[in-house]
């Protein structure tokens, strides 16, 4: 087995996941002006729910569908019932509330599923595809194709549809948008819904290849955030930064060792935060 090819394959798969998560973070950050630290929980919730439901005997398709709906309800509910009623609060406080929400989800996941990793069967069965000394499971190919396909689709939605442009307008200047008849609140809930859906899709596709436990959410938020920050919170740029980040992390794992992945990623986070601190404001911008 060729180490380099194999790392590229695993980098592509995690890169697709980071892109999935990064897009949701970017959309919510731009429209609702909140850095949603509970975003990665959509991944964990979907995974745990799917594993429990499939384990309880539900057909896989139904379990996955239901799990995706639960993630969607979580993402939009967090906005509608927790964050929106406190829209006038300082941005820093709201970020802490999203962190609190992430820990609440953790607790609930431990209560429901315990602390052991869970998984569920893949959707795309079959022998892995072998090439250039590496092997890629069918599910992984689906993950990469869907990951980048759906992400590009979101880019097209934003740039070329009326609803997408309303979302961009609401993100840039909610006051101007509402004066033109745009329902800014609907644009925000749409952003959370897209985020919840993409986080769930990432979970459905990746978790059968690895596993999920109560800690997965924050790890995903972190990776998604690094990808989002590298792109300068651009919904299109995150496609490339997510891919690059996935490949980089896989190479670190392959050539330095898996133990180095977390420390190296935290260093990347610090460097990105220093580099982008002038562009990304966490409290300064208007949230009207």
């Amino acid at each position: 087995m060729n180490l380099f090819t194999q790392s590229v394959i695993s980098g592509l798969m995690t890169g697709a996941v980071y892109t999935f998560l990064g897009i949701g973070l970017v959309l919510v950050y731009r429209t609702a002006r909140i850095l949603n630290l509970a975003h990665g929980e959509t991944f964990a919730i979907t995974g745990v729910a799917a594993a429990l439901l499939a384990g309880a005997g539900l057909p896989l398709g139904a379990a996955l569908g239901l799990a995706i709906l639960i993630s969607l309800a979580f993402a939009t509910g967090l906005h509608r019932f927790v964050l929106r009623p406190r829209a006038e609060w300082p941005a820093g406080t709201l970020i802490l509330i999203t962190l609190g929400a992430a820990f609440v989800v953790r607790g609930v996941l431990i209560l429901l599923a315990g602390t052991d990793p869970l998984s569920f069967p893949v959707m795309f069965e079959g022998p892995p595809v072998r090439f250039a000394g590496g092997a890629m499971p069918l599910q992984g190919i689906a993950l990469v194709v869907l990951g980048f396909g759906v992400s590009a689709g979101v880019g097209i939605f934003l740039a070329a549809t009326r609803a997408g442009k309303q979302l961009l307008a609401a993100a840039e200047n909610p006051y101007a948008a509402e004066l033109l008849g745009v329902n800014v609140e609907r644009a925000r809930i749409t952003a959370y819904a897209i985020g919840g859906l993409l986080g769930a899709l990432a979970g459905v596709l990746l978790i059968p290849l690895i596993a999920v436990d109560f800690q997965s959410g924050l790890a995903m938020t972190l990776r998604g955030f690094i990808a989002a920050a590298i792109s300068g919170m651009s919904p299109v740029g995150v496609l490339f930064s997510g891919l690059g980040l996935g490949l980089f992390e896989a190479m670190v794992g392959a050539y330095l060792g898996a133990l180095y992945q977390d420390p190296v990623m935290f260093c990347v986070l610090i460097l990105v935060a220093l580099w982008q601190s002038r562009n990304i404001r966490f409290g300064g911008s208007r949230r009207a």
Partner: protein, 228 residues
């Protein structure tokens, strides 16, 4: 007088800070009302409150006799309250055309709308400069062009009442003059409220002028306004 817009004893401000008190005014469907007032008098706050972008704490706002006091801003825009805001608020990252197209949000909420292409052609005829720059980003327009775009957007809302907040701010005298001509051409097509510090500009345009003085409305000669 059948007023398109009627404001009754309205109070408003920011949180606990009341900026204007007991404001009453009425504008007929072909009338232009001018509002003068010093910096910080509360003119912008009043217009934003009428548009629904700020909540009022007392009083009512009626559009064609319908109480819209509790209606959010985007629904008031769709119902026909157009505001060209202070500072223009052009969407810098969207093209001129996309800035205009945002107003398609009114489709389905207004009777007898011609197709969007016809509506846009009409404002392009009024502001040919915007047609030339249709695919340019809003942020790349000059100040005068941005003011044209802000007015064009509000016109595409098919306003029942059009409010303009200091439209001449930051414009060269020659552009101010052409803006006066443009607005004079619109006079009578719908109700208008024009806020200005430029008194001469307002006298050219308005049918009557009121003053905003520390949050209350007074007649131009300083006596309490007995409007409506």
């Amino acid at each position: 007088m059948t007023a398109v817009l009627q404001v009754e004893a309205l109070d408003g401000g920011y949180g606990k800070l009341t900026v204007f008190r007991g404001v009453s005014l009425a504008v007929a469907r072909d009338q232009t009302l001018g509002l003068l007032g010093a910096n910080g008098a509360g003119k912008t706050t009043l217009l934003k409150t009428i548009a629904g972008a700020l909540p009022s704490t007392k009083g009512r706002v009626l559009l064609d006799g319908r109480d819209v006091t509790r209606m959010p801003a985007y629904l008031r825009a769709r119902a026909g309250i157009g505001l060209v805001p202070e500072g223009r608020h052009i969407l810098a990252t969207l093209s001129v055309r996309d800035n205009l197209a945002l107003t398609r949000a009114i489709e389905g909420h207004r009777p007898d709308l011609p197709p969007f292409e016809h509506r846009v052609a009409e404002v392009y005829a009024m502001f040919p400069r915007l047609a030339e720059r249709a695919s340019q980003l809003g942020g790349s327009l000059s100040g005068g062009e941005q003011q044209m775009l802000a007015i064009a957007r509000a016109l595409l809302l098919k306003p029942r009442v059009l409010m303009l907040d200091e439209p001449t701010q930051g414009l060269a005298p020659i552009i101010v003059q052409s803006l006066a001509v443009t607005l004079a051409g619109l006079k009578g097509r719908f109700a208008m409220i024009v806020v200005e510090q430029n008194k001469a500009f307002l006298e050219q345009l308005a049918d009557r002028i009121l003053q905003v003085r520390s949050g209350t409305l007074v007649a131009a000669d300083g006596r309490p306004a007995t409007d409506n």
